[in-house]
Each structure stands twice: as C-alpha cells, then as structure tokens.
Amino acid sequence: MHTQSLYKGCLEPIILQLLKNNDKLYGYQITQMVKQTSQGKLIITEGALYPLLHKLEEKGLVQTELAYVDNRQRKYYMLTDTGIQETKTTLTELKSLIETLQLIINPSLA
C-alpha cells in the first residue's frame, strides 16, 4: 500500500525517461509501459497521468502531434529539446536521491 505513495513523487522522471527512450508515446501506451516495466508494481492511474502530461506540456518539456489510427484521432507525446535536457537533470537528481536514501537505510555504506 505504501509503495504507490512512494512512487508518486517519481512519476514525472518516470514518464520523462519513457519518452526519452521512445520516439513518441500516447497516454494509454504510457500507462501500459509503466505497468509492464515495473512488473505490475507501479500503476499510473488516468487521473494522475493526464494532468502530469498536460503539466509537462505547459512547461514546454513535451510537445504533441495528432495522428489518425483505428477509426479515431490519437494524441502522441514526445520530448522537446528542453525536455531532453530536463530529463537528464531530473534523472541525475533521482539517482542522487536514491544514493542518499541508501545511506540512511544502510548507514554502513557511509
């Protein structure tokens, strides 16, 4: 139960990293990729995903394009140049956080 709330703060770097590793993704695809990559441990709800994607778009980190697929239009998200830079920064900060947490959990590592 606590796992989901712990992951909550990491959603943005997770999505940025997925977009960095893939040319472009659509919303539903992102939810499925997160679920598969985390082996079911992390599930992004629609209520969390779309507001986050819109926030990233507002910040200029992602841009969108529409395509016609399977009888409907689909909105794809992809990183902007600013987004690519921001992803590198965010992941560096996340790695630093993980190292700090490991020091707290395992003081013998210090």
Partner: protein, 228 residues
C-alpha cells in the same frame, strides 16, 4: 485477433464524454482514444465481455471524479501557459526594439503635461480612456470573429478567452479618485500614474489579440475537424 472499435462505437464514446461533462473537443479526442484502447484490450482478452460492460469497467477506473479532475488540470495548465505567453509578449514592449514605441508615448505624455493647462489635461485623459475603450471593443470583436469559425468547442481556444472587461468604467472610476478637490485638476504624479495605466491596458489588449490569433492558427492546424 485484436479487437478494433468501429466508427459508430467511437462516436458513442464521444457522446459518452459529452454526457460526462467533457464539452471540449480536444479533450474528448484524448479521452476517447484512451477509453477505446482500454476497451479494445478488454474485448480482445475476453470476447464475451461486450462493449457496454467493457466501457463501464474502463470508466470506473477513472475513479469517483470521473473525467472532472483531468478537465480541471488541463484547464489550469492552459491558463497558466497563456498567462506566461502573454506576459512574455507584454515584456517585449519594454525591451528593444518595441520599447521605443512605449517611450514615444510616455514622451508625448510628458510633453503634454508640461505644456497643457489643467482642464485640457483632463480632456486628454478622457480621450485616452475613450481610445483604450474603442480599441478594446475592436479586439473583442476580432477575437469573437475568430471564435465564430469554430464548429466545436476547444479548450485550447477557450482557456485564454476573456469576456469584455469594463476598462471604460474602471479607468473612469480610477480617474475620479485621482482628481484634485476642484474636480478638474490632476496632480503631476496622478497624471503620470494614470497615463502609465492606460499604456499597460492598451498593450495588454494588443498582447491578448496577438496570442489569441496565434492560438487559433495553431488550433486550425491541430484540430481541423473543429472548424468544419
């Protein structure tokens, strides 16, 4: 074999979104695609489930708020984005080269303050109010004309839309408080403050139209179906 929803089923999903208070076409597109993907996956995994049952299960996953949280978050994000863009354009009028137009206006204001008698200064200030008011009317008319081209509502063009602001009354009331006790004189400080307000309001209206036009041009390219 992967299930692909038919055109009728997709149209049903659009109607479903409208029924659940998603009135903006650009948001509907995204939500319909998400619902369709999830339904197709359920119907592929379990062909007996049926479209209606699958839709019910997929919509339930959105939580008790349904689509409301997503609509609110997107609206807030767009409004914030437009505010930043408008502020960016407004700042350009205080940076080279557009700052020279602003300086020209303020120089004119200074020249008139130095050379006009007080009653004529008041006449000049009222002229400023009427000019800004007329300009705002033109801007509101032009933006409404852009909006009339739309056959479907878009959050993209709606988020930054502002109704007519009562600038005329606001400036009049503002001027009333700046007048000296004789009712026709304005102190030098009050004169410059008022003229600066007029300049900022005028530039804000120019910026609003400029950004609105850009947004509409973007909307026509991204959502041509909303302009058919």
């Amino acid at each position: 074999m992967k299930v692909v929803l038919s055109k009728d089923q997709i149209d049903y999903l659009f109607a479903f979104c409208r029924k659940h208070y998603v009135r903006y076409y650009d948001l509907q597109i995204e939500l319909v695609d998400h619902l369709a993907n999830a339904i197709e996956e359920k119907m592929t995994a379990n062909p007996k489930i049926g479209f209606d049952r699958a839709l019910h299960e997929v919509y339930t996953a959105f939580g008790y708020k349904g689509f409301a949280g997503i609509v609110e978050a997107k609206t807030n994000a767009l409004c914030s984005q437009y505010s930043k863009v408008r502020l960016h354009y407004l700042k350009q009028y205080f940076a080279i080269p557009k700052v020279f137009a602003s300086i020209l206006f303020l120089t004119l204001v200074y020249f008139l303050e130095q050379n006009l008698p007080h009653p004529t200064q008041l006449f000049f200030l009222y002229t400023c109010i009427i000019t800004v008011f007329l300009h705002e009317m033109i801007v509101v008319y032009k933006v409404r004309k852009l909006r009339k081209q739309q056959t479907k509502e878009l959050l993209l063009t709606n988020a930054g839309y502002q109704q007519f602001i009562f600038t005329f009354i606001t400036l009049q009331i503002g001027l009333h408080f700046l007048l000296d006790k004789d009712g026709i004189s304005v102190s030098a400080v009050a004169y410059y403050v008022f003229c600066s307000m007029v300049l900022i309001i005028f530039l804000t209206n120019i910026t609003y139209y400029h950004v609105s036009k850009q947004v509409f041009e973007k909307a026509i390219i991204e959502y041509p179906n909303a302009f058919v």
